[in-house]
C-alpha cells in the first residue's frame, strides 16, 4: 500500500521541552492507524503539526508525496486532510445545520459566495441532511450548538470533519468524555467510513484501539517508541513495561 501521510524527523519544541522529538511516521493509504501513548506523550502535538495548527521546529511533512510542511492549515483541508479535536472546537452560536453546511460549501468551493443565499444549492442541502442523519443530529439541527448536550456536540465535532470528505482523517480521542452507552454511536460512525479513507486514531481505551487498528504507533516522551501491527505491539515487552502493562494484562 502507498504511503499517504508521512513525517520525516518531525520536531516541536515548546521553550526548552521537546514535545515531539524526531518522529518519522508513515501512514498507508486506507490504514486504520492508531497513535497511542501516555498523557503528555505528544500525540495531540503531532496532530497539530500534521494539520498546520502548529509549525514544526524541524522536520518535514509529506501528504501524498508533496511537502506540506509550510502549507496553511486551511489549504491542507482542501487537500483532503481533516481532523477532530480532543477538546471540542465548535461554532457555539451556529446550529448544527449551519455548521455542517459551512464545511460542505467550503469543500465545494462556494463558501466565499456572497451573492447567493445559504441553502440555495440543493446539493449542499442534500448532503447536510445525509450527514446530520448519519450522526443522529437530525432532531437537534436547528438548535444552538452551545446548548446541545456533550454527546451531541461530540458527534457534531466528528460530523464536521467527515463533512470535509477527507482522504485522511485524524481523530484525537473522539470518544473522550462520552458516556459508555453513547460511545458505540461514535465508534460505529468511524467504523463505517469508506475503506479508502485513511484514519489515524488517538485513543487511550485499549479495547477500542485493538478492535479498530491494523497498525499501532506508540509515542513516549515525544519519540516513536514502537511501530507495528497490533499483535506485535501487544507482545512487545517494552510497550508493556512503559505503557500498556495494566491494560493488556487485564
Amino acid at each position: 500500500m502507498p504511503v499517504v501521510l508521512e513525517t520525516v524527523a518531525l520536531e516541536k519544541h515548546f521553550g526548552g521541552i521537546a514535545a515531539v522529538a524526531g518522529v518519522s511516521l508513515s501512514i498507508e493509504k486506507g490504514a486504520r492507524h492508531a497513535l497511542i501513548g501516555p498523557n503528555g506523550a505528544g500525540k495531540t502535538t503531532v496532530i497539530n503539526l500534521l494539520t498546520g495548527v502548529l509549525r514544526p521546529t524541524a522536520g518535514r511533512i509529506l501528504l501524498e508525496g508533496e511537502d506540506i510542511t509550510s502549507l496553511d492549515a486551511y489549504k491542507r483541508v482542501q487537500r483532503g486532510l481533516a481532523r477532530t479535536f480532543q477538546i471540542n472546537q465548535l461554532f457555539l452560536d451556529l446550529t448544527p445545520l449551519e455548521t455542517v453546511g459551512l464545511a460542505i460549501s467550503e469543500r465545494l468551493g462556494s463558501g466565499a459566495q456572497w451573492w447567493r443565499l445559504v441553502g440555495s444549492n440543493p446539493h449542499v442541502v442534500e448532503e447536510i441532511v445525509e450527514i446530520l442523519g448519519r450522526f443522529h443530529l437530525t432532531d437537534v439541527m436547528h438548535e444552538r450548538t452551545g446548548n446541545l448536550p456533550y454527546g451531541k456536540q461530540r458527534l457534531l465535532e466528528i460530523a464536521l470533519a467527515i463533512a470535509c470528505r477527507p482522504r485522511v482523517l485524524l481523530l484525537d480521542e473522539p470518544a473522550a468524555g462520552v458516556p459508555e452507552d453513547e460511545r458505540h454511536e461514535i465508534l460505529a460512525t468511524v467504523a463505517a467510513l469508506p475503506a479508502d479513507v485513511t484514519v489515524l486514531l488517538i485513543e487511550h481505551d485499549m479495547d477500542i484501539v485493538f478492535s479498530f487498528a491494523d497498525r499501532i504507533s506508540v509515542l513516549v516522551n515525544g519519540a516513536l517508541f514502537v511501530d507495528g501491527p497490533p499483535a506485535e505491539v501487544a507482545r512487545d515487552p517494552r510497550v508493556k513495561a512503559v505503557y500498556l502493562g495494566e491494560s493488556l494484562d487485564a
Binding site: L54, V129, G133
Partner: protein, 348 residues
C-alpha cells in the same frame, strides 16, 4: 435519504433570510419620517449617514469580530475625496463621486486590513486608532489640498443626477442619504445571509475550527474589512456632500469612539443595531444638548455605564426569533481570539 426532509431543510434555510415584520416596520417608519417630519430633515440626514457608518462597523465587529477604534480613517477619506472631487470639478455628479470616494476608502481598507489580521482586541484597537491618527496628520500636513485646520471651503455640490439640487432644509439631502442607506443595507443583508456571511460568523466564533474546515480565515477578514471600509467611505462622502464641507474632525478619535457607542446602544450582529443606535444616539445628543449643552459628555458617559450594567438582561429581536442580547453584550468586547491559536486546554 428522505426527500421530504431535504425540502424542509431547504425551506428552513431559505426562511433565514426572509424579511421579518419588524424590518418592514422599520423601513416604513424611515419612509414615513421623510413625509411626516419635513422640518427635521437636517438631523434625519445626520442620522442616516451615521447609521450607514455604524452599519459599516457592525459588519466587521458584529459579524467578523474585528473591533476598531479608527473607523474614522475610512469615513474621513471618503469625506475629503467627495469634497475635493466636487470642489475641483473632477467629478461633478454626486452619485458617481460618492461611489468613487467609497472605492478609494475600500482601497485604504484593503491596504490596512493586513494590520488587523492578527493580534488581540487590544492590539487591534491600537492599530486602527493609529491608522486614523496618521490619516488625520496627513490631512493636516497638506493644507494646500485639504485646507488644513480651516477645513475645505468653497465646495459646491452639483445636483444629484443633474436633477435634484441640495436645498438648505435638507429635503433632498435626507432623501438622498436614506436611499443610499437603504440600497447599501440591502446589499449588506444579502452578504450577511450568504455562505460568505455565515463563514464570517464561524471565523468570529472559532477561527481555529474555521481554518480546520478549509476556510481561509485571513482572506475572509480582508474581504469584509475592505467591504466595510467602502461603506464607511460612502458615509463620509454623504456627510461632505450634504454639508458641502470637510474638515479634520472627520478623522477624529471622538468620531470613531462615538461610533462604538452607537453600536453599544443598538447592539451588534443583527444589522439593525447601527441603525437603531444612530437614531437613539443623535436624538439623545440633540435633546441633551438643548437641555444642558456643556454636560453632553457627562450624560453620554452615564448612559454608557447604564447600558453596560442593565445590558445583560436586554432582549433583542433577531432573525429566527428572540434571543438574549446578553450574549452579545458580554462578548462584544471579546469578539474573537487570534485567527489561528493553539486549542485551549489541548496538550497540558
Amino acid at each position: 435519504m428522505p426527500p421530504a426532509l431535504v425540502g424542509k431543510v431547504a425551506h428552513r434555510l431559505a426562511t433565514r433570510a426572509r424579511w421579518r415584520l419588524l424590518e418592514y416596520a422599520f423601513w416604513l417608519a424611515a419612509l414615513a419620517s421623510f413625509f411626516l417630519l419635513p422640518n427635521r430633515h437636517l438631523i434625519l440626514t445626520e442620522i442616516a449617514w451615521l447609521a450607514l457608518f455604524a452599519l459599516s462597523l457592525d459588519l466587521i465587529l458584529g459579524y467578523a469580530g474585528i473591533i476598531s477604534l479608527g473607523h474614522a480613517a475610512f469615513f474621513g477619506l471618503g469625506s475629503y475625496l467627495a469634497a475635493l472631487l466636487a470642489k475641483h470639478g473632477i467629478v461633478n455628479e454626486p452619485v458617481l463621486a460618492l461611489v468613487l470616494s467609497g472605492l478609494c476608502a475600500a482601497v485604504l481598507g484593503f491596504a490596512t486590513s493586513f494590520l488587523v489580521l492578527r493580534g488581540s482586541d487590544l492590539t487591534r484597537l491600537m492599530v486602527t486608532l493609529g491608522v486614523a491618527l496618521i490619516m488625520r496628520e496627513i490631512a493636516n500636513q497638506i493644507p494646500d489640498i485639504t485646507g488644513g485646520a480651516d477645513g475645505l471651503q468653497g465646495v459646491v455640490i452639483a445636483p444629484i443626477l443633474g436633477l435634484f439640487q441640495f436645498d438648505i432644509f435638507g429635503h433632498v439631502a435626507y432623501a438622498y442619504c436614506l436611499i443610499v442607506l437603504f440600497i447599501l443595507f440591502l446589499l449588506a443583508r444579502r452578504v450577511v445571509y450568504s455562505p460568505f456571511g455565515l463563514s464570517l460568523r464561524a471565523v468570529k466564533g472559532n477561527p481555529l475550527r474555521a481554518a480546520s474546515i478549509g476556510i481561509s480565515v485571513n482572506a475572509r477578514l480582508v474581504t469584509i474589512y475592505t467591504f466595510a471600509a467602502f461603506y464607511a467611505g460612502i458615509a463620509g462622502a454623504l456627510l461632505a456632500q450634504t454639508t458641502a464641507f470637510a474638515s479634520l474632525d472627520v478623522f477624529s478619535f471622538e468620531r470613531s469612539a462615538d461610533l462604538l457607542l452607537v453600536l453599544i446602544i443598538g447592539g451588534t450582529g443583527y444589522l439593525y443595531g447601527g441603525l437603531i443606535g444612530a437614531v437613539i444616539f443623535k436624538l439623545m445628543q440633540d435633546w441633551i444638548a438643548n437641555l444642558t449643552p456643556q454636560y453632553w459628555q457627562f450624560w453620554i458617559g452615564l448612559v454608557l455605564v447604564l447600558i453596560v450594567l442593565i445590558g445583560r438582561d436586554r432582549i433583542a429581536l433577531r432573525t429566527g426569533g428572540v434571543r438574549l442580547l446578553a450574549e452579545r453584550i458580554t462578548r462584544r468586547f471579546a469578539p474573537a481570539a487570534a485567527p489561528v491559536a493553539v486549542p485551549p486546554g489541548e496538550g497540558s
